[in-house]
Amino acid sequence: MTSELDIFVGNTTLIDEDVYRLWLDGYSVSDAVVLRVCSGILEQTGATAAVLQSDTMDHYRTFHMLERLLHAPPKMLHQLIFQIPPSRQALLIESYYAFDEAFVREVLGKKLFKGTKKDLDDISTKTGITLKSCRRHLDNFKRVFKVVEEMRGSLVDNIQQHFLLSDRLARDYAAIVFFANNRFETGKKKLHYLSFGDFAFCAELMIQNWTLRAIDSQVDDMDMDLDKEFLQDLKELKVLVADKDLLDLHKSLVCTALRGKLGVFSEMEANFKNLSRGLVNVAAKLTHNKDVRDLFVDLVEKFVEPCRSDHWPLNEY
C-alpha cells in the first residue's frame, strides 16, 4: 500500500510557523521531518511519523505555491487563491525577507549579480546556513535591488511599498541596497569586527546626509547614489588640515560641541590634529570611485585604528 496522493486544502490556508521556519532555512522534507521528530512533537500530539511526513510534505507544497507570490508581496495582498489573514500574510512576508546577519556580512557591498553565486557554497560552509537558504537570501537582495534601483523617492519607502516589509527590515534592506550600489568594501579583515548593524547604521546616516536628496529635498531623486557635488565639496575640506588657523578653529568648534559628551574628551583633544587629518584625507579622496569603495577600510585605518591604539572605549563615527 503506497500513498499516491495526499493533500489537505483548507479554506483558510493552514500555516505552521515551525515548518515555515524549517522551509526557509532550506531543509529538505526528510530533514525537516527528522528535526520535527527531535522537537518532541510526536510525544506531545501522539502522532505517528507517517502523519508528520504527510503534514510536512503538505506544508512544503503550500509554501512552494506561495513562494511565487512572496516574490511580489503586493500580489500576495490581492491574490484570491490563498485565503490568509492579513496578520499571517505580513508574517509570511516578513519571515521570507528576514535574513541571517552572518550571511549579509559576507555579501555586503559585493556586486550582487555576478560571481557571488559561485561563492555561495563557500559562504554556506562558512556560516552554516544551508545553500538553499543562502540562495533565497541572495535572490531576495537581488530582487529588492532590481525593483528599487531605478526608482525615485525615499529608498526605505520604496522598499516598504513594494515589499510590504516592516520599518526595521526595510531599513536594513535599504542599507544592503545602498552598500551594493556603492560597492563599499566590507570584506577586508580589518573590518571583520564590524557587524551588519554597524554598517546599517552608517548607511542610514549616509543616506540621510550624503545623497542627492539629502542635499535638496525638492529634488525627488534617488537615495542610492552619493551626491557628487557633496563629494566635490569634501575635497575643499583639505584646507582644514592645510590652514593652521582653520584647523584650530575647527578644533575648538568640535571640542565645544563634544565637551562633556565624550568620556575620552581629553585624548581626543590631544590627538585632534592627527585624527582630523585622517578624516579629511579620506573625505577628500571620495571623488574617486575606488576610494569610495574603500571608504570603510580607510576610515578604520586612518581613524578608528589610531583611536583604538589609544584605548578609546567607544566606537565613534
Binding site: D6, T48, A50, L80
Partner: protein, 1013 residues
C-alpha cells in the same frame, strides 16, 4: 417576456505574460450570452488592463436567463496569428433573478483556464432588469428560490412544506463525441463545462416550474448530481423539497435567533427524528438494453434484510388511538403525493412525529452502450469516442433514467409503509458507476409527520394541543410508529426511558440530523463501517449479476459493523447515516458513516459478548476471555470518553454541557434502577443473536480485531458527521473548512478481502489522524459534518475524499446564561410551539441590557453585511492599490457559529475541469490536485464576494473525479461544488448595530436638537 442583462468589464489584473518579447499582454475581452457576443477594445501592453467598457446589453428571454451562464473570455490580441485565449469566467446569473437575493454581481473573478488554472483576475459588473411576466404558460421559473441547506433556512419560516421535487436531464458527453478526436483538450473541457452549466440551469428551471405548480416558492435541500456515464452520456439529476417560505422580516425576530450556536441550535426549528432499525433491500433488475435491440429484463430480488434488536415485549396500547388519528390525517395529506419524500434533515418544531428507521434500496443497472473495447482511455490522446446517432439517443434516454429512479423510489416508499410510516425524511440518492455498470442507491428515514405543515391553510391545526400533550419533548420521535403486535420485523421493544408510556426500539438508525430537542446523554462520535469485497472482473450482465449477488452481503456486514461499533461506544442511536457502496473493476467498497449518540429515551445498550464455536480447549478459552475483557474495557473507556453516564451519575457532573440530561436525571432518578432491571432482564433472554460475536474462523477474528483498532480521536477533538455535535454547545467563532484527498495504490500481490479491508481501514484511520494532527492548533475543537467519499478510479487505486469543518469551542466557559436561556426556551418550545417566533423578542430584550455596549470590536475581518456590500461596490471601481480581499467563510453546515445569517443571496453550483500535460512540472499528482482544489475554493469565494456575500453555507463537494496517467505526464480532474451564498453578521457587531439603530431612528424625530447642539 424578456429581461435585459447588462455587463460591464472594468479591469484586469495580474494577467499572465502572453508576449515573450515585451513581457506584456495585449488583452481584450469577449462577453457572450446565448448567441450574442460583445468585445471590448484591446488594451495594449499591460498586465493590468483598464478596459472600463460600456455596458454591454443583452435582451433575452427569462428562460435563457435561467439556463445560460454568462461567459466571459479574456484573450490576447495577436495581429498576425489567432488570438490566444488567456482564460474564462462563467457567471451564473440566477441569483439576480429573484428579488430578495443579490441585486448586482460585481467584483474580481479569477480568470480560469482548464489547462493552466487561474491566470489573473477580471473585474466585472453584471445587472439584470427583469420585466414583469404575466404569461401563465411561461417556461421559466424565475423567482423560485433554491437552497442547498437541508433545513428551513435561518431567516425564513416554513408556511407549507409541499414535498418532493425531482428532475433529470440527459445529454451526450462532449468528451466522448467524435469531434473530440480532433479538437484540443482545452476545447473539449470547455465544451463540457459549458454544457454542464447549461444543463444545471435547465434542470433548475424545470424544477422551479414544478415548484410553481405545487404553489411553492422555494426548494430547500436542493441536491444536484452528475453521473458521468462515459459513452452513454451525461446525466444531471436533482432532488429537493418544495416549500412555501416566508421571510422573517422583523429584525428583532432575527436578532437573537442565533445569538450563540447553542441557542440557535435549541431554537432552530428542529424535529424529532425518530427511527430505529434499518430496513434495506436490494432490487437488482439488470437492465441490459432497451429498445428494439436485445431487450432482456430480469430482476433479482434479494430478500429484505432487516436489522434491529431482538426480543419482544407485550404491546403497550397507549399510543394506539393517537397514532391512528395521526396516521389518518397525515395520510390524507401525503397520499396525493407520488413520493412523500423530503430531502430535509432538520425540521420545524413539531413536524416530525415518529421515526421508523432507515429505508434504503439499491439497484444495479447496465448502461446502454455500444461496445467498443478498444477505447477506454481518459486522456487527451486516448479519448474514447463512438459514432452514434445522438439524436435518437437523446430522445430515448431521460425516460429510461427516470424509470430507473421511479422504480427505486417506489421501493423506498413501500419499505416506509412496512414500517408504518407515510413519509421518508432525510432522503438522498446516489450512484456509483464503473464502466457500464451503475449502482443506483436511495436511502432515507421512514417517518410519521405532522400534517400541519403539509397542507394549505391548516397552519393552526387543531391537532396541535393534543400533540404537545402526547409528546413529551425529547422522546416523542423515538416512539415506534408501527403497531407492536404487527411488527414489520422482529424488534426488541421497551418502554421509553423518558416518558415511560410508549414503546421504543433498542436501537435507532436514521439519516437525519439529531433533533434539537432530543435528550442526549454525553457526547456523540463519528462511527464508520468500512468494507471491501473482491469481485471477479467480468463483462456486462455477468458483472452486474456478480455485483448484485455481493450487495446483500456487503450491506449486512456494514450493518453488523455499525452495530458492533455502536455498542462498543456504549451508544444506542445513529444519526446522519450514509452508506456508500462504490463499484470498481475488481472490487466493491462499502463505507458507512454516522454519528453515534446515547439517546436517553432508549434503553442502555447491552455489551458485546464473544463466543467461541470450536471445541473447548484451554488456551482458546483463555484467548476468548482475554478478548472479552478487552472489549469490556473499551466500552468502559468509551463511556468515560464520551461522558455517557447513566442518569444517576450525571447529576454529579457539574459542568455537564447539556442541560436536558441534568434536568431529566433529577426527574428520573428514582426510576433509574428499574430501568436497569429492564435491561438486565432483556439480556437474560433474547439478545443472543444480535450482540454475540462468534469467533469461529480467522475472518471473525479479524473483525473483532478491527473493532478494537479504531483509535479514538486525541483529547480535545471530537468528530461527527451531523451538523452539530451533541453535547457541545459553546462554539466559538473560529471555523476551518477543508478538503483532504488521499489515493493509495494497492499492491496487487496480496489482494485478499482481509488485506483489502485492512488497507482501507488504515487509509481512513490515517487520514483522520492526519486531520487531527493538522488541526491541533484549534483544540478544543470538533470536526463537524465529516463527509467521506470513496471512489475507485482504477484497478488498484482507492481514493478517499473528506470534506469537513473544524469548529472550536470553549471548554471552560460554562455559558451558564446561555444554558438557562436555552432551557427556558426549550421548555417553552415544548409547551407552546406557536409562540416560538416570539421568543426572540424577549430574548433580545434580555440580552441587550446584559451587554449594552460590547466593546465595539474593530471591524472584524468578516465585514458586516451592510458595510460589506458597500465595499464590494467600491471595489468594482478601478482597482485601487489598497483593496484587500474580503474574507469569505465556507462551511458545510447550515449556520455559522457566533454569527447571524441575514440574507441568502442564491445558490452556488459550479463545475470545473482541470487538465495538465505537465504533471511532473506541477509538482506531481499532489501538487496538481492541491493547486486545483485551492483554485476551486478561490473561485467559489470570488463568486460569493461578487454577490455581496461573506460566506457559503451548506457547502458540499459533490464530485471530485481524479484521473492520472503518469506515463504520459498527464492528469485530469473534475470537481463539482455547491452551497448557499449568504451574508452574515457577527453577533458582537449585530448588537452594536441594533444598539445604534434606535439612536439613528430617533434622530429624524428630533432634528432640532441635533442641529442646535
Amino acid at each position: 417576456m424578456p429581461g435585459k442583462l447588462k455587463v460591464k468589464i472594468v479591469a484586469g489584473r495580474h494577467l499572465p505574460v502572453m508576449d515573450r518579447a515585451s513581457d506584456l499582454t495585449d488583452a481584450f475581452v469577449e462577453v457572450k450570452f446565448g448567441n450574442t457576443t460583445f468585445k471590448t477594445d484591446v488594451y495594449l501592453k499591460s498586465l493590468n488592463p483598464q478596459w472600463n467598457s460600456e455596458w454591454f446589453k443583452f435582451e433575452v428571454d427569462d428562460e435563457d436567463l435561467q439556463d445560460e451562464p454568462l461567459q466571459i473570455t479574456v484573450l490576447d490580441h495577436d495581429t498576425y496569428s489567432a488570438n490566444d485565449a488567456i482564460g474564462k469566467v462563467y457567471i451564473d446569473i440566477d441569483p439576480l433573478l429573484y428579488s430578495e437575493a443579490a441585486t448586482v454581481i460585481s467584483g474580481w473573478f479569477p480568470i480560469y483556464d482548464t489547462i493552466h488554472g487561474i491566470r489573473g483576475e477580471i473585474n466585472v459588473v453584471v445587472k439584470v432588469d427583469l420585466f414583469n411576466d404575466l404569461n401563465r404558460f411561461r417556461q421559466s421559473s424565475c423567482g423560485v428560490k433554491f437552497f442547498c441547506t437541508t433545513s428551513i433556512p435561518k431567516c425564513y419560516r416554513a408556511v407549507i412544506i409541499h414535498g418532493f421535487v425531482e428532475e433529470l436531464v440527459v445529454n451526450e458527453d462532449p468528451e466522448y463525441q467524435w469531434i473530440d478526436r480532433i479538437r484540443t483538450p482545452r476545447a473539449s473541457n470547455e465544451a463540457r463545462q459549458r454544457l454542464i452549466s447549461l444543463m444545471s440551469g435547465e434542470l433548475q428551471r424545470k424544477i422551479g416550474l414544478k415548484v410553481l405548480e405545487m404553489r411553492g416558492n422555494a426548494v430547500v435541500g436542493y441536491l444536484q448530481c452528475f453521473d458521468l456515464e462515459g459513452e452513454s452520456g451525461l446525466v444531471v439529476r436533482a432532488i429537493g423539497t418544495a416549500c412555501t417560505l416566508d421571510k422573517l422580516s422583523s429584525p428583532a425576530a432575527l436578532l437573537p435567533a442565533c445569538n450563540s450556536p447553542s441557542r440557535e441550535m435549541k431554537e432552530s426549528p428542529l424535529v424529532h427524528p425518530p427511527s430505529h432499525g434499518c430496513r434495506s433491500t436490494h432490487n437488482s433488475p439488470i437492465h441490459t438494453a432497451t429498445g428494439s435491440r436485445l431487450t432482456q429484463n430480469f430482476s433479482v430480488s434479494v430478500p429484505t434484510l432487516i436489522y434491529t434488536g431482538m426480543g419482544s415485549g407485550s404491546a403497550g396500547k397507549e399510543g394506539g388511538p393517537f397514532k391512528a388519528l395521526l396516521r389518518q390525517q397525515t395520510q390524507s395529506a401525503l397520499e396525493q403525493r407520488e413520493f412523500p419524500f423530503f430531502t430535509l434533515t432538520a425540521f420545524p418544531p413539531g413536524f416530525l412525529v415518529h421515526v421508523g428507521g432507515v429505508v434504503s434500496a439499491r439497484s444495479v443497472k447496465l448502461l446502454d452502450r455500444i461496445h467498443n473495447p478498444a477505447f477506454v482511455g481518459i486522456m487527451g490522446n486516448t479519448r474514447s469516442y463512438k459514432l452514434l446517432d445522438w439524436n435518437s439517443f437523446n430522445s430515448d434516454e431521460p425516460e429510461t433514467r427516470d424509470a430507473w429512479w421511479a422504480e427505486i423510489r417506489q421501493e423506498i416508499k413501500s419499505h416506509a409503509k412496512a414500517l408504518g410510516c407515510h413519509a421518508v425524511v432525510g432522503y438522498s440518492e446516489s450512484t456509483s458507476i464503473c464502466e457500464e455498470v451503475c449502482i443506483l442507491s436511495a436511502s432515507g428515514t421512514a417517518a410519521v409527520l405532522n400534517p400541519r405543515f403539509l397542507q394549505d391553510g391548516t397552519v393552526e391545526g387543531c391537532l396541535e394541543p393534543r400533540l404537545e400533550e402526547n409528546l413529551p419533548a425529547g422522546c416523542g420521535f423515538c416512539h415506534i410508529p408501527y403497531d407492536e403486535l404487527n411488527m414489520p420485523f422482529p424488534a426488541h421493544l421497551t418502554y421509553c426511558n423518558n416518558c415511560r408510556k410508549q414503546k421504543v426500539p433498542d436501537v435507532l438508525f436514521t439519516t437525519i440530523d439529531l433533533p434539537v430537542d432530543a435528550t442526549v446523554i454525553g457526547k456523540g462520535c463519528l462511527i464508520q463501517a468500512r468494507l471491501c469485497r473482491l469481485k471477479k472482473k467480468a463483462q456486462a450482465e455477468a458483472n452486474a449479476t456478480a455485483i448484485s449477488n455481493l450487495l446483500p452481503f456487503m450491506e449486512y456486514e456494514v450493518h453488523t459493523q455499525l452495530m458492533n461499533k455502536l455498542k462498543l461506544k456504549a451508544m444506542n442511536a445513529l444519526f446522519g447515516l450514509r452508506i456508500q457502496i462504490t463499484v470498481g473493476e475488481n472490487m466493491l467498497m462499502g463505507l458507512a458513516s454516522a454519528t453515534g449518540v446515547y439517546l436517553a429515551a432508549l434503553p442502555t445498550p447491552g455489551g458485546i459478548q464473544i463466543a467461541g464455536k470450536t471445541p473447548n480447549d484451554g488456551s482458546y478459552e483463555q484467548h476468548i476471555s482475554h478478548m472479552q475483557k478487552k472489549i469490556n474495557d473499551t466500552i468502559a473507556k468509551n463511556k468515560e470518553l464520551y461522558e455517557i453516564n447513566p442518569p444517576e451519575i450525571s447529576e454529579e457532573i457539574i459542568g455537564s454541557p447539556i442541560p436536558e440530561p441534568r434536568q431529566r436525571s433529577r426527574l428520573l432518578r428514582s426510576q433509574s434502577e428499574s430501568s436497569d432491571e429492564v435491561t438486565e432482564l432483556d439480556l437474560s433472554h433474547g439478545k443472543k443473536d444480535a450482540f454475540v460475536l462468534e469467533i469461529d474462523d480467522t475472518d471473525a477474528m479479524e473483525d473483532v480485531h478491527s473493532l478494537l483498532t479504531d483509535v479514538p480521536p486525541p483529547s480535545g477533538f471530537y468528530s461527527c458527521n451531523t451538523e452539530i455535535m451533541p453535547g457541545i454547545n459553546n462554539w466559538t467563532s473560529e471555523i476551518q473548512m477543508f478538503t483532504s484527498v488521499r489515493v493509495i495504490r494497492l499492491s496487487s500481490l496480496n489482494l485478499t478481502n482481509q488485506a483489502l479491508n485492512k488497507n482501507f481501514n488504515d487509509l481512513c484511520e490515517n487520514l483522520l489522524k492526519s486531520l487531527y494532527f493538522k488541526l491541533r492548533s484549534m483544540i478544543p475543537c470538533c470536526l463537524c459534518h465529516v463527509n467521506f467519499t470513496v471512489s475507485l478510479p482504477e484497478d488498484e487505486l482507492i481514493q478517499v475524499t473528506v470534506t469537513a469543518v473544524a469548529i472550536t469551542f470553549d471548554k471552560n466557559q460554562a455559558l451558564q446564561t446561555t444554558k438557562t436561556h436555552a432551557e427556558k426556551l426549550l421548555q417553552r418550545a415544548s409547551t407552546d410551539n406557536e409562540e416560538l417566533l416570539q421568543f426572540p423578542l424577549e430574548l433580545c430584550s434580555d440580552s441587550l441590557p446584559s451587554h449594552p455596549f460590547p466593546p465595539a470590536k474593530a471591524v472584524t475581518v468578516e465585514k458586516a453585511s451592510p458595510m460589506g456590500e458597500g465595499n464590494f461596490r467600491n471595489r468594482s471601481a478601478p482597482p485601487c492599490a489598497n483593496s484587500t480581499v474580503g474574507v469569505v467563510k465556507m462551511t458545510p453546515l447550515s449556520f455559522i457559529p457566533g454569527a447571524k445569517i441575514t440574507k441568502y443571496l442564491g445558490i452556488i453550483n459550479m463545475f470545473f475541469i482541470r487538465e495538465t500535460t505537465s504533471l511532473r512540472e506541477e509538482g506531481g499528482v499532489s501538487g496538481f490536485l492541491h493547486a486545483f482544489i485551492a483554485e476551486v475554493f478561490a473561485m467559489v469565494r470570488a463568486h460569493v464576494a461578487a454577490l455581496g456575500g461573506n460566506a457559503v453555507v451548506s457547502y458540499i463537494m459533490k464530485q471530485c473525479v481524479f484521473m492520472e496517467n503518469p506515463n504520459k505526464n498527464q492528469a485530469q480532474c473534475l470537481i463539482n461544488v455547491s452551497g448557499d451564498a449568504v451574508v452574515f453578521v457577527r453577533e458582537s457587531e449585530l448588537e452594536v448595530v441594533s444598539a445604534q439603530q434606535p439612536a439613528a431612528n430617533c434622530q429624524p424625530s428630533c432634528p432640532g436638537g441635533e442641529v442646535t447642539t
